[in-house]
Amino acid sequence: MDDTYLSINGLSKRFGSLSVIEDFSLQIAQSEFVCVVGPTGCGKTTLLRCLMGLAKADAGTILLNGQPLSLKESCVGYISQEDTLMPWLNALDNAAFGIKIRGTPRSERRQIAGKALDKLGLSDIASRFPREMSASQQKQVTLARALCAEPEILLMDEPYSQIDSTSRRGLWEDLLRLKAQTGVTVLFITHNVEEAVYLADRIVVLSDKPIVIKQDIRVTLPFPRDIADSAFIELRERVTEEIKWW
């Protein structure tokens, strides 16, 4: 492919004698929304941590636009599995936290963070602290924080797995809307097949560790998708069939 944007080649990572990733390769095109599904503990988080440079890969190359990835650059947004809002900061300051680290001056970053919150419909809770927010509001603020740094690619690690299904629908819509507006590339890890089919341009099904791509499925259903649509259900069943062995 020449339109490769993120290119992972021959990636390997082991913890002692446990080989989690072995000679793993994946190519992602610009503005693609890729969902990765795989069994618990197979190494999905490890894969993202390697991409972010938070864990050191033993072998392999990771290229973004043909360049090696570096954390200092602002083009990658990472949303981890854990809660990562600073409990001592309100929503606005949490949203501004990333660009504060990058050195954006106070008034400017407050303006940027305010806009990001606004985009996600969070203006009303700008002065709330994490403990005063619902779980889905916390996730949205986390997303706003990533957006402030204007990432070209978002790496999201099971972001909505703890959210109840009603609120999750709203989060999906927001994410798709942002994706359409900004053209950001997304690598999204999930357990939830319905979520993957709802969001993805492409679904990558992983094996247990060491991870191997078992299936690479292109999803061509038009947006907005309808979870009750027969084509949707058919695809959902197909992917579910793939992962039945878990």
Binding site: M52, M86, P87
Partner: protein, 235 residues
């Protein structure tokens, strides 16, 4: 109750426990009188305050960064922790004999003891506060490109702030209590000295006056630190 037991019912001898009226009269008189212990109440209080604040200042200045670095860097921890485990069980007043030999009965020695009384709570609280920083929060900062220094200042220290203040508060009350003990053993002035002398001179109402001043000043300290913490949180 105190008033009833002493001045109204005369349950105890005024030589042992004077009534509140007498204590209040003596409190007022003591503002200008040097009777019995050689200095006025403001003199005693000021002398104690200056000592405590000096020792506290240096204790915080050394203890906070030391505790923070111990919590942050495993190298610092490896070298300094054994030393601290050794020193920790020694109560601050336990240094008194050493200090008396080194510095004599003067102010420096007591400043040194206060310094120690402050150092321990500062180091221990800062250390444990910093080590409790959430790993995922540090990783988050790292994902935005923060190196170790930015992680420390943007994540670890703000997250440890409540415990840093616990350290400051504990240190202040410990050093205040320690000062009184140190002054009771060796001093020519100060609230602890005032208690000691008046015990020997059988002047219980002055003892109570000194105790009250100690209590009130300690409470004021906590109040000031509480306010400082609130202000810092807001900014």
């Amino acid at each position: 109750m105190w008033h009833l037991a002493t001045d109204v019912w005369h349950l105890t001898s005024p030589k042992l426990l004077p009534g509140p009226v007498k204590v209040f009269e003596d409190f007022i008189a003591k503002f200008s009188s040097k009777r019995s212990d050689g200095a006025t109440l403001p003199d005693h209080t000021w002398s104690s305050l200056v000592l405590v604040l000096k020792g506290y200042f240096f204790g915080v200045l050394v203890g906070m960064p030391l505790g923070i670095m111990m919590g942050w860097s495993k190298w610092v921890r490896r070298f300094i922790r054994p030393l601290f485990d050794l020193l920790r069980p020694i109560p601050p007043v336990g240094w008194l004999p050493v200090v008396l030999i080194l510095f004599g009965i003067g102010q420096e020695g007591k400043v040194f003891i206060i310094f120690f009384a402050t150092l321990m709570p500062c180091v221990l609280n800062a250390y444990s506060g910093i080590t409790q920083t959430g790993e995922s929060l540090l990783t988050l900062a790292q994902s935005f490109g923060a190196g170790r220094v930015k992680q420390l200042f943007f994540v670890a220290i703000p997250s440890a702030l409540p415990q840093l203040f616990t350290g400051l508060r504990t240190a202040l009350s410990t050093s205040w209590a320690t000062l009184v003990a140190a002054e009771m053993l060796a001093a020519q002035k100060g609230l602890g000295h005032m208690i000691q002398i008046n015990r020997m001179n059988s002047n219980p109402s002055y003892i109570i006056v000194a105790m009250l001043v100690i209590g009130v000043t300690g409470a004021l300290f906590s109040l000031v630190l509480g306010l400082a913490e609130k202000l810092l949180r807001r900014s």
